[in-house]
């Protein structure tokens, strides 16, 4: 296996080749071992400074990145602005250049606008890691999801994965589709017709609007959070009705004639897209995902930093 990524930034899964994903997952294996040692820190990124720029609310992704950076001995600065600098009249390029002027080596950015990470990579001189750009991509989430499926089921290839929920507004769904397809899984999306993009099947995914049929088909169900904050208009009448149609509960899982794996990128709306007894059941690998997230992000940062040195 090659020891270097084909890209200089992680903007999305779309730009990656299979060998890149395999390299990241293999590197994450090593870091996961490290994380289970008594001393969890390695000196790999000592002397590097990484800026976490979060122009949109995030707790777990930011914490996960920050922890990954600290485990790699990088120096970390955080910038959080939910209202975004746009309201102050400063452009994104200016904000980032200001931070880079303070000698920052890498930027991890979350931003509400699709393509913001790609835009930044075209205009500033730094390694960029996309931590979610609007409704476009969230590549590290897809990588950690793939890592978790591989860990649980042995491999991703040939597995059937259904992504359930608001596909229209989900960067997790899009990155997962690209990543799982690259690794040879079959992908289905399931959700209300108003929240499934009209042309999604042209990406080579199946579309199902019946939750039971979708669960019956799959090996893994990746349940998305209903993100009401992203919906400026109503796509379904009420959360109650959403739960009636697309909520996963224990009785439904028990009625299937097989065991499936339940995933969720968090944070969970308990009782909406998934009930507590499912989230906390043996079906669920939700907390494994969180743990793996740190290892996968360490791998991404480590591999991109390695390109930096050349």
């Amino acid at each position: 296996m090659k020891s270097s990524l084909s890209v200089n930034h992680l903007l999305g899964i779309k730009g990656l080749q299979l060998r890149d994903v395999e390299l990241i997952l293999a590197t994450a294996d090593t870091f996961k071992d490290v994380l289970n040692r008594p001393i969890k820190k390695v000196p790999s990124l000592r002397d590097l400074t990484i800026a976490n720029l979060f122009f949109e609310n995030s707790t777990r992704t930011r914490l996960s990145f920050e922890l990954a950076e600290k485990r790699l001995s990088a120096d970390v600065v955080n910038f959080t602005s939910s209202s975004s600098s746009v309201t102050k009249g400063e452009t994104l390029i200016d904000t980032v250049n200001n931070i880079l002027a303070m000698k920052v080596d890498m930027v991890v950015m979350r931003h509400p606008s699709p393509g913001a990470a790609a835009f930044l990579s075209q205009h500033v001189r730094s390694r960029i890691v996309n931590a979610g750009d609007g409704t476009h991509e969230h590549p590290t989430q897809a990588l950690l999801d793939a890592f978790s499926i591989r860990e649980k089921l042995g491999s991703v290839k040939g597995k059937k994965v259904v992504i359930i929920g608001d596909i229209l507004h989900s960067r997790v769904a899009l990155s997962n589709i690209f990543c799982l397809q690259l690794l040879g899984a079959e992908v289905m999306v399931c959700g209300p017709t108003t929240l499934i993009p009209k042309y999604i099947s042209e990406l080579g995914v199946r579309v199902e609007h019946n939750l039971r049929k979708a669960l019956q088909w799959c090996d893994v169900a990746n349940v998305l959070r209903i993100q009401l904050e992203r919906q400026d208009i109503k796509y379904f009448p009420s959360l109650r009705e959403y739960t009636m149609l697309f909520g996963i509960n224990k009785a439904l899982l028990d009625s299937l004639d097989k065991q499936i794996v339940i995933m969720h990128p968090g944070p969970i709306n308990r009782g909406v897209e998934i009930t507590s007894d499912v989230a906390d059941s043996e079906h669920s690998i939700i907390l494994d995902q969180v743990e793996n997230g740190v290892a996968v992000r360490m791998a991404v940062l480590y591999l991109l930093a390695g390109k930096n040195e050349k």
Binding site: K14, V86, T91, L92, I93, H111, S113, P114, G115, A116, A118, F119, Q122, H123, D133, G134, T135, H136, E137, R171, L174, P197, K198, Y199, I200, E202, L203, D232, I233
Partner: protein, 429 residues
């Protein structure tokens, strides 16, 4: 001024010299001779036009000069320079100024400022006050001051009742309503064409149906009102078909297409180039084919520039925060010509003739303007161009005040050579 255009091929179906390579002598702004070979009188500027063609001067139906209000993006002077560079001798300017061109004083401002320029300027007044889509503007007053048609530019009129009243009322003075078809309750916050590309990019889509629903509605309204209607910058295959069917039924409908919608598709947005964030959005290959077919069979009347200057602050930013539009006057012909040369159609001469018709007689006819002629005794209103010449669009050669063009550093086929109008000869850069 005396000018001799030597060995230029005349492309003008109404001219007795159509298809012939001739010398054209122009004296004092009047064509005084068209012959196989003319001896230049003393003091004549001679232009060697071998391999070049000449048509009547081009007319753009849809440009913005941002003047008054946004002079940092463009003003009438730079806009008209850009028009000349693009081969245009006439430009209809949209009311997207600040304030919105909805009164006679604003129409008069534009007309006065364009006096003495080498390009004819035709103001298009607003249909509604401030372009807000609520109350009708004083269209007759504006027409009396020189407005040639009425449009709210890229602010579609959502209220069907208001649209009907505009169509009915403008009949009192033979005013033409030009409408940009887009149902905003469907296109909403869309940033690009809805399709597999928008799905891949996670960008909110503008579905074709948002355009087609409005056209279908307006065709019903125009039929009911028995009024003419013009659709500005159509972009979908469905739109072409709706208008083709309406024309067959005898409705008084016309339409235009922006040149860039013939060349680019939504696939070109993969790098999030905000200079390709356009309204209407770039559609798909099937739409491009339908638009070119529509131009060749006469369904689409005119090719326009949809020239939209934007400053760098509004373009060099995140895609969904960037403003819509590109500057296009200087590249309009080349873009359409390049698109045509890429199409699978075999009769290249007929295609070029369709394109030139869509830049000359047809847009002027839509606005009921007098048509220039290429004959002895006529005023010289001419554009000289080379449809086969390849050129590189260089940023420092652009005359527009803005540079928001996705074509910078790109190669195009088809070059404007020069323009002769109002007794002046302008060689393009």
């Amino acid at each position: 001024m005396k000018l001799l255009l030597r060995s230029v091929k005349i492309l003008s179906p109404r001219s007795p010299f159509h298809g012939k390579t001739q010398d054209i002598l122009i004296e004092g702004g009047i064509i005084t001779a068209i012959e196989k070979s003319i001896a230049a009188p003393r003091g004549t500027v001679i232009h060697e036009g071998k391999g070049q063609q000449v048509s009547t001067g081009w007319m753009d139906l849809h440009a913005r000069f941002c003047d008054p209000g946004f002079e940092h993006k463009e003003d009438l002077n730079t806009g008209l320079d850009a028009a000349l560079q693009g081969g245009f001798t006439g430009v209809a300017v949209m009311p997207s100024t600040a304030p919105f061109m909805h009164t006679k004083s604003l129409v008069e401002y534009v007309i006065r400022k364009a006096e003495g320029k080498s390009v004819d300027v035709y103001p298009v007044g607003a249909i509604t006050q401030n372009g807000a889509g609520k109350e009708l503007a004083e269209m007759y007053d504006m027409q009396s001051s020189g407005a040639v048609a009425f449009s709210d530019d890229k602010h579609p009129i959502a209220d069907a009742g208001l649209m009907l009243r505009a169509l009915l009322y403008s009949k009192n003075f033979d005013g033409l309503i030009m409408h940009y078809p887009d149902d905003r309750s469907i296109s909403g916050k869309g940033n690009m064409n809805e399709g597999v590309s928008s799905t891949r990019l996670g960008l909110a889509g503008i579905p074709a149906i948002a355009e087609e629903l409005t056209i279908a509605r307006d065709l019903k309204l125009a039929a009911y009102a028995n009024s003419p209607i013009h659709f500005s910058t159509i972009s979908t295959a469905g739109a072409v078909q709706l208008i083709r069917d309406a024309k067959k039924k005898g409705l008084k409908v016309s339409c235009d297409v922006a040149a860039h919608n013939l060349l680019f598709s939504d696939k070109d947005l993969d790098t999030f180039d905000s200079n390709l964030k356009l309204m209407p959005p770039l559609r798909e290959a099937k739409d491009i084919k339908a638009l070119i077919d529509g131009l060749c069979d006469g369904t689409i009347d005119a090719v326009c520039s949809d020239h939209t200057p934007e400053d760098v602050e509004n373009k060099k930013k995140e895609f969904d925060y960037a403003h819509f539009g590109m500057i296009a006057l200087e590249t309009c012909f080349a873009v359409a010509n390049t698109a045509f040369s890429k199409s699978t159609k075999s009769d290249k001469d007929a295609i070029l003739e369709s394109l030139i018709g869509a830049l000359t007689d047809k847009p002027r006819s839509i606005l009921s303007l007098a048509l220039p002629d290429i004959k002895v005794g006529a005023k010289a209103n001419l554009t000289i161009f080379d449809p086969n010449k390849e050129w590189l669009v260089a940023k420092n050669q652009l005359r527009s005040k803005s540079a928001n063009s996705p074509l910078v550093d790109k190669k195009l086929t088809g070059k404007v050579i020069g323009v002769c109008h109002k007794d002046q000869w302008h060689l393009a850069r």
